[in-house]
């Protein structure tokens, strides 16, 4: 066995040892710790959200979520910046596309509306069912990617995508600031009435914020994908 194939094996064995040690030393807690039990008992009366995970992500840890969305935005911006160097000139969208198959074209025409609708459902119901802005945004972007796969010559408006992205981000921050003025703090969801527990219009500003996050994440992924598609083929 050569050293080149030996070193990865040693590294893998070391990693396995670390994980095994963690696994052996693990004993599950009998009770929830202080933070977890606070979330478990206080989430429903404080935020009115049925999905505790969403309440934590959007309200209690809302600032972290803003940070995550910002990281994703930076990634999209950098990808766009790097790929703008090899952008195809206007009117010449790549060259010599291989035609996509009949199955893919027809399937896309049927599936894309359903996928987009499902993505919107996931992020609009984030406070009731599992899922939310990030998952819904990724589903929306995968629908868009399917369209690009079926018809590589298809072009999406960069301007529309960046408008959706930046206005969603702006409204998100404004909602957070409104929470500071009218309620307990930054991104507090109680600026709107908590409503009937378990209905779509409940949990204050959580559905609104998660819809904005969903639009923003979807637009960011889409902008990465479209800037990949816009690049010129190597000559």
């Amino acid at each position: 066995m050569t050293t080149r194939s030996f070193i990865p094996l040693v590294l893998l064995a070391l990693l396995g040892t670390v994980f095994f040690a963690l696994f052996v030393g693990f004993t599950p807690d009998e009770t929830l710790n202080r933070t977890a039990s606070y979330y478990a008992t206080q989430t429903v009366p404080e935020t009115g959200a049925q999905n505790v995970v969403t309440a934590i992500i959007v309200t209690y840890r809302g600032l972290d979520t803003l940070g995550e969305v910002t990281v994703l935005f930076l990634t999209a911006a950098i990808v766009g910046l790097v790929l703008a160097q090899s952008k195809a000139p206007k009117g010449r969208s790549g060259s010599g596309f291989l035609p996509s198959g009949e199955l893919l074209t027809t399937g896309t025409r049927m599936l894309v509306p359903v996928i987009l609708l499902f993505g919107a459902y996931v992020f609009a119901n984030g406070h009731l069912t599992p899922g939310g802005g990030f998952q819904g945004g990724a589903i929306v972007a995968s629908g868009l990617l399917l369209m690009l796969l079926a018809d590589p010559a298809e072009r999406f408006s960069h301007r529309l995508i960046s408008r959706i992205e930046s206005s969603a981000g702006l409204i998100y921050v404004i909602l957070g600031l409104l929470g500071m003025i009218f309620a307990g703090g930054f991104l507090d969801n109680r600026i709107l009435p908590l409503g009937w527990f378990g209905s779509v219009f409940s949990a204050g500003a959580i559905p609104l914020i998660y819809i904005l996050i969903g639009l923003k994440v979807g637009a960011e992924f889409s902008s990465i994908l479209t800037s990949l598609e816009d690049t010129e083929d190597a000559q």
Partner: protein, 83 residues
């Protein structure tokens, strides 16, 4: 051993098998598909561990978007190679 543990064990073995297939196969398309399969099995495992939110993220990004993206780039490479 409960039924849930058994299902989890089968899933874990299937995940490892898919990962091995992704590493050893000669065909790029099969490698991409089995890498997506790893994510899919992992997301079912998350669901069994009562983390549906994480499972959805894993299924949408790890198994859906990444696999699509790989095929997109593969098509792109094939297009440029055929010129």
């Amino acid at each position: 051993m409960t039924a849930l543990t058994l299902v989890a064990a089968v899933l874990a073995v299937a995940t490892l098998g898919a990962a091995l297939m992704a590493l050893t196969t000669r065909s790029t398309a099969i490698a991409v598909l089995s890498a997506g399969l790893v994510s899919l099995f992992a997301s079912v495992l998350f669901l069994l561990l009562a983390a549906p939110d994480v499972a959805m993220t894993e299924a949408a990004i790890g198994s859906g978007l990444t696999t699509f993206l790989f095929f997109f780039v593969l098509g792109r490479i094939r297009r440029e190679g055929s010129k």
